[in-house]
């Protein structure tokens, strides 16, 4: 009873504020720095999208899983705007920016006259507050923005208000990935969240039950949430984008996320016309493509996705003989030759994938096609040659033996239930068998796998995947020698299960570590690209992780959905404001 009274009170108060704000700021409207987009469309209508699983929270500080972030990201503008392939499009909340004289930071000029969805002004003050009072505070929120914005040596940026509309974000040293990471940070509404931050209860606000408290700066705001059924987002009445005809964007009045339990339901709903976009699973692609004409859809593939699938070998098992094999580059090359990537593409992805040779996805602007010269196309002869070079031979039964006569046999694992990885493992076991290598496939449950990976080092080989960001810097934790996810060859300083007596690193590992330290300070984009190019070639030559194949992004949408442009990193979301149906 008391709770509901309080609720009514809060509601009344917020309505009061809204009315007040409307009257107070009417005159400023004309001076605002709105973004004019060169698009044409018909305002109105609803855009239905399928979502796999419902959101867990609407709080941008807490959300981790895509079922929540897919929705939250539509609610918030960031400093910088990114295009369909994640290139810089210009400013979003920031109108423009310039690099400081000493090359260690940026002056962001915030647009004038922006407003939150409740009509309150969105100013440089919100930007500074978001960084200083929320993201830079250790242990305040569950999200890891604090790690993302740290520079190469772990320093946090200094964030200062220079004048009414200018924010200075500055590191103690040059930090090249900074513009991209800072530009993508969600700016929070100070006027709404301040109290929760001061009481340290920010983690508990904006849960999936608190739809009425939300305030947004992006194109849409959540107005209704029915658990496991749907999330309804409505147009933000104060969004800062207009089309050339003077219509306030976005065109769609509503964006509805239809929550589905699994891929099958999602496909059924799309086929029934209940949703307007489908990220097509490779298995379903032929069936969906077959209906393209009849149903009036646009169906197609777009370049590779950013997810990776690789074989990792544990350099620090308790078995030193085994470690010697795994640390042998010729052995790893042989394994790469022995992977039938074409079969993987056909069996796992229905032919809708491409082989991957280096650690950076071709979807990334940092991808250097040079790695394709260091490829390992399927060939058992080449694999045998490489094994002989590495000192291996075959015994009378055709089993591979090392130079001491030990039969080469190891466990192969992955997380049980992941069909893609399990299929890949089965194919690998088969072709390795043809080389006389016995890989024993034994999938285990995800949490157990993580424990083995991080806490005990009790694994031999595994098929795994990690999702990459746009900038390879986001993978520092994996590539650096003392990184927390350098799991195939942990430094004894990071993992106590690694015996310092047997621990060793190779030159290539050392050089990659050097590259990852140097790239953060390299402000010249060309030189930085060259560093990452060297990293890709070193990885392809030495195969610390043996990459396999990468799925293509597959999409389907009805023909009457206009202005949609599929991108490598962003799928359909990057220009959500411009989509419409005719």
């Amino acid at each position: 009873m008391r709770k509901s009274l309080l609720f009514v009170l809060v509601l009344l108060l917020s309505f009061g504020f809204m009315a007040f704000a409307d009257v107070g700021t009417e005159g400023v409207e004309g001076e605002a720095d709105y973004i004019i987009e060169d698009v044409q469309g018909i305002p109105g209508g609803t855009y239905y999208v399928g979502a796999l699983g419902g959101p867990k929270t609407f709080n941008p500080c807490e959300a981790q899983e895509t079922s929540s972030t897919d929705i939250i990201d539509r609610m918030f503008a960031t400093l910088v705007d990114y295009g369909k392939d994640s290139e810089f499009r210009g400013g979003d909340i920031a109108k423009s920016w310039e690099v400081t004289e000493d090359n260690t930071g940026w002056y962001f000029h915030i647009r004038k006259g922006l407003k939150w969805s409740d009509g309150q002004p969105l100013t440089a003050e919100d930007v500074v507050w978001s960084f200083n009072e929320v993201y830079k505070v250790e242990g305040l929120i569950t999200g890891n923005t604090i790690d993302v914005i740290r520079d190469g040596d772990g320093n946090l940026p200094e964030v200062k208000l220079i004048d009414e509309d200018t924010v200075l974000i500055k590191y103690p040293q040059p930090f090249a990935p900074g513009l991209r990471t800072l530009g993508a940070v969600t700016i929070l509404p100070k006027h709404v969240m301040q109290e929760a931050v001061e009481n340290k209860t920010i983690s508990e606000i904006w849960t999936v039950s608190d739809v009425d408290d939300l305030v947004a700066s992006g194109p849409y705001i959540v107005t209704e949430h029915i658990p496991e059924v749907r999330v309804v987002m409505e147009k933000n009445p104060y969004y800062h984008r207009f089309d050339t005809a003077g219509n306030r964007l976005p065109y769609f009045d509503k964006l509805v996320w239809v929550i589905c339990q699994d891929q099958n339901t999602m496909r059924l709903k799309f086929e029934a016309g209940e949703t307007d976009f489908l990220a097509v699973p490779a298995d379903d692609y032929p069936a969906i493509k077959g209906q393209e004409q009849e149903k009036g859809w646009v169906v197609g593939p777009y370049g590779p996705t950013t997810s990776t699938l690789f074989l990792a070998l544990n350099f620090n098992t308790t078995n030193q003989t085994m470690n010697e094999w795994f640390r042998n580059v010729h052995f790893r090359r042989a394994l790469s030759y022995a992977m039938d990537r074409d079969a993987m593409i056909d069996v796992i992805y229905n032919g809708l994938a491409q082989p991957q040779w280096g650690p950076i996805s071709p979807a990334s602007p940092f991808y250097d096609p040079l790695v394709e010269d260091y490829s390992y196309p399927f060939s058992l002869e080449d694999a045998r040659a490489s094994l002989e070079k590495g000192g291996f031979s075959w015994n009378d039964d055709g089993k591979l033996v090392d130079k001491y006569g030990n039969i080469v046999k190891f466990d192969l694992t992955t997380n049980a239930g992941n069909q893609v990885r399990e299929k890949a493992c089965n194919l690998i076991v088969d072709t390795f068998g043809q080389l006389g290598i016995e890989a024993v496939f034994n999938p285990i449950e995800f949490n157990t796998l993580v424990q083995k990976l991080m806490n005990t080092g009790d694994w031999e080989t595994m098929i795994m995947g990690l999702t990459g960001g746009v900038d390879p810097h986001s993978g520092s934790n994996v590539s650096k020698i003392d990184g927390g996810l350098h799991f195939w060859n942990y430094s004894p300083a990071v993992a106590d299960f690694v015996d310092p007596e047997f621990y060793e690193i190779t030159y290539s590992e050392f050089r990659i570590d050097e590259i990852f330290k140097a790239q953060t300070k390299e402000m010249d984009p060309d030189k930085r690209f060259a560093l990452f190019s060297e990293y890709q070639v070193l990885s392809a030559q030495n195969l610390p992780l043996i990459y396999t194949v990468q799925q293509l992004r597959l999409y389907a949408y009805p023909q009457n959905l206009k202005n949609i442009q599929i991108g490598g990193f962003s799928s359909w979301v990057w220009n959500l404001w411009g989509l419409y149906k005719d």
Binding site: E65, T142, N144, P227, E228, V229, V450, Q451, G484, L485
Partner: protein, 323 residues
């Protein structure tokens, strides 16, 4: 009577404690914890993971964690969900409506049909009506729920008479009050028939057996011999005596009201408690799992208590024992 209820409630406290301790051990014995997904994320530093462990209380030892949880429990705070960042009860609350809608419809369906068909079959023992009812009952018992659910979905997709899963239509926001009610009922038919069909068989067989037992008792023969009308014998005496074990069964059925049905809910995309529990288990959302488990135990205890009170209501012998 009142004293008896109080005594039963007090006795249930050690049971709940035992259940909670065992559940806590079993959940914690599973490898890993909620933070494992973060540990596999390249952008999380180890320092952040450590701070999160602290924040969620996952770095304490087992007994400290249990003690803390118990201490809060006693004060009425069932803990926070790691996934949802809100008190577990407010999450469970969002699923109560759908769960009750399904379980109550199922209960009504299986019990009303089960009891009437059971009596019908007993009165026509070994005749065709009885045989048919038995075959149907065994079909219901032996077809797995998930398979029956899939059959129903196939049927719904082919005929278009019923929706393919879900709890409401996509355009339900535009519906009026009665239309909304109708929409819910239309959606509940599939899962309710699936669950009701398997539940019905048990009730029916139990009813039939008990009823036949009573009908062969001496007092029934005596009543008939002295010329009492058949109706009075059957419904006034035999049925009243046959109903006792069914009331006990009903108590158990009550306990599953809030438990949910994982498989059926999954096939029908029904937003019930079963799926919430499974999701929480998968994510190792400790306190949410604990809350759902404890709630089920609580319902079991309450269901049994209610059954015993009902029993006292219909059976003077039981009533007498209470005094």
């Amino acid at each position: 009577m009142f004293k008896y209820i109080v005594r039963r409630l007090i006795l249930s406290i050690p049971v709940l404690l035992g259940v909670s301790f065992l559940s806590f051990i079993i959940i914690q014995a599973a490898p890993g914890d909620f933070l494992d997904q973060f540990r596999m994320n390249p952008t999380f530093s180890q320092e952040s993971i450590r701070l999160l462990e602290e924040k969620f209380g996952l770095n304490d030892n087992f007994f400290v964690q249990y003690g803390k949880w118990l201490f809060q429990m006693v004060q009425g705070n069932w803990g926070h969900s790691f996934q949802y960042h809100q008190p577990v009860f407010s999450i469970i609350w969002t699923r109560v409506g759908a769960t009750l809608l399904l379980s109550i419809t199922t209960l009504i369906l299986s019990w009303s049909i089960g009891i009437s068909v059971g009596i019908f079959a007993a009165l026509r023992q070994y005749r065709p009506g009885d045989q048919i009812a038995s075959v149907v009952a065994f079909l219901g018992l032996s077809i797995p729920n998930f398979f029956f659910a899939l059959l129903f979905l196939y049927f719904a997709a082919k005929t278009g008479w019923f929706p393919i899963g879900g709890i409401m239509s996509i355009n339900s926001a535009e519906f009026g009050f009665w239309q909304t009610i109708g929409d819910y009922l239309w959606h509940v038919v599939g899962p309710a028939i699936t669950l009701g069909f398997s539940g019905l068989a048990g009730v029916m067989r139990q009813m039939r057996g008990q009823f036949l037992d009573q009908m062969s008792m001496d007092y029934v023969e005596f009543a008939r011999a002295k010329g009492m009308p058949r109706r009075t014998v059957v419904f006034g005496h035999a049925l009243r005596n046959a109903i006792n074990p069914l009331i006990t069964m009903f108590g158990y059925a009550l306990s599953s009201l809030l438990g949910g049905a994982v498989l059926t809910e999954t096939v029908f995309s029904w937003p019930g408690m079963g799926r919430l529990t499974i999701e929480a288990l998968n994510a190792q959302d400790l306190y949410l799992v604990m809350a759902t488990l404890l709630l089920s135990s609580l319902m079991l205890i309450i269901g049994n208590l209610i059954a015993d009170i009902f029993l006292a209501g219909v059976d003077p012998r039981v009533r007498k024992r209470f005094q």
